[in-house]
Point group: C2
Chain length 212, copies 2
DNA sequence: CTGTGTGAATCAATTCACAGCT
DNA sequence: AGCTGTGAATTGATTCACACAG
């Protein structure tokens, strides 16, 4: 990541929550919303909402509040969701198959653009209505129509190799489900989702709570 | 959570990483390890390693370093992993099925103790070699043999109801895959894994990086 | 008078720097 | 000398408090 990320990462994570809550609120017919209300909705404080937004501009009207749908649009723009983001799922085992069929992605404006695997036994099969392609095709597919994010759902032992191919294909974002710290060049952004580590942390806090 | 968590949450997340790296290191035959080495392994700084450990005691020898396998034992104890933790998977759709078959859980010392669903069409079926039970059985199953953590893999619309049943069954930890903020009593610990939110954050950082 | 936007103050986490054991 | 453990300093994030706009 070139320059220092002047935007605090926790702030960005909350922006996603705000966007989601706003979607819910507008669907419920609410058109104007205050930082107070939005905060209550998301389980944070009103000043936090305002501070988070202030990193990007000022979107409300003093004494009034925010236009819910307009604020939502702003947030989607800030998050880079003004256009549909295309994702590729790499590794079509148990988890990859489940992710390929996860309705939540489509529902929230992501497009599952392709399924990839390096196992010839899987390539060509239909999974969740899509044909699995060989990972060798990733680079040319990305060139034809840009893929924004690769979701890595491969076993730990294959993770680094798969990541390198994703990077070589010119993809700039990786959501990594393997419990491995990936080595990637600076211009590629990785986020790790380590389910076992989550269980372990949970185990800690549960243990902690048991000692009241 | 009753008292203030004097232990910083980021610290706990790193402890999991340390434990994992130590497992790898000992498997590779390393018996003594310095904070320097462990840190390099995990991608953090040596002082961070030492500070994190210092919250729980002192496990090294000055001028020498740490006994890798002994430190690993300590970490497992701290994380509450000295005994095998039993997990229940609630919601046996695409994702739940994938999680039920995820080898990583067993490999890291968790035991998948039961699969639960509230859909009668699924109950009784064999999934990944285990029979799916009705969620009504969760409470009595938990009484017979304690379940430490419930993994919620139900759709958003069912999440709160499922969480309430999990809590009513007396389970104290929830790993929540639904994109919903769950309402639970204080003594229950929840961790959220929101895959769509992860994609959205990634989208932000990728966009950010594109503006170089 | 209401509710935003923001510098100032507080609180938390990380990094520094060094004393003390081996 | 080498490396841990830990207060002190620093950096970063959150909360406070108030000026300002409608």
């Amino acid at each position: 990541m070139g320059q220092k990320p002047q935007i605090p990462a926790p702030s960005v994570e909350r922006l996603c929550r705000y966007e989601r809550c706003l979607a819910k609120a507008t669907r419920a017919g609410l058109s104007r919303i205050s930082s107070q209300e939005l905060a209550a909705f998301c389980g944070v404080t009103p000043e936090q909402v305002r501070k988070d937004l202030s990193h990007f501009g000022s979107f409300g009207r003093r004494g009034v509040g925010y236009d819910a749908s307009k604020l939502r649009e702003e947030l989607r723009r800030i998050l880079g969701l003004e256009r549909k983001r295309r994702i590729a799922i790499v590794g079509i085992g148990n988890l990859g198959t489940a992710l390929a069929g996860y309705a939540g992605f489509e529902a929230r404006g992501f497009e599952v653009a392709g399924l990839y695997d390096n196992n010839p036994a899987r390539v060509g099969h239909l999974v969740q209505g899509m044909r699995v392609r060989h990972i060798d095709q990733l680079a040319s597919d990305n060139q034809r129509e840009k893929i924004d994010i690769a979701v890595l759902a491969v076993p730990e032992s294959a993770a680094q190799a798969a990541a390198s191919r994703v990077v070589a294909a010119g993809i700039r974002g990786i959501l990594n489900f393997a419990p491995t710290r990936l080595e990637v060049p600076d211009h590629v952004v990785v986020r790790d989702v380590d389910m076992t580590a989550e269980l372990e942390c949970l185990s800690f806090w549960v243990t902690q709570a048991e000692k009241q």
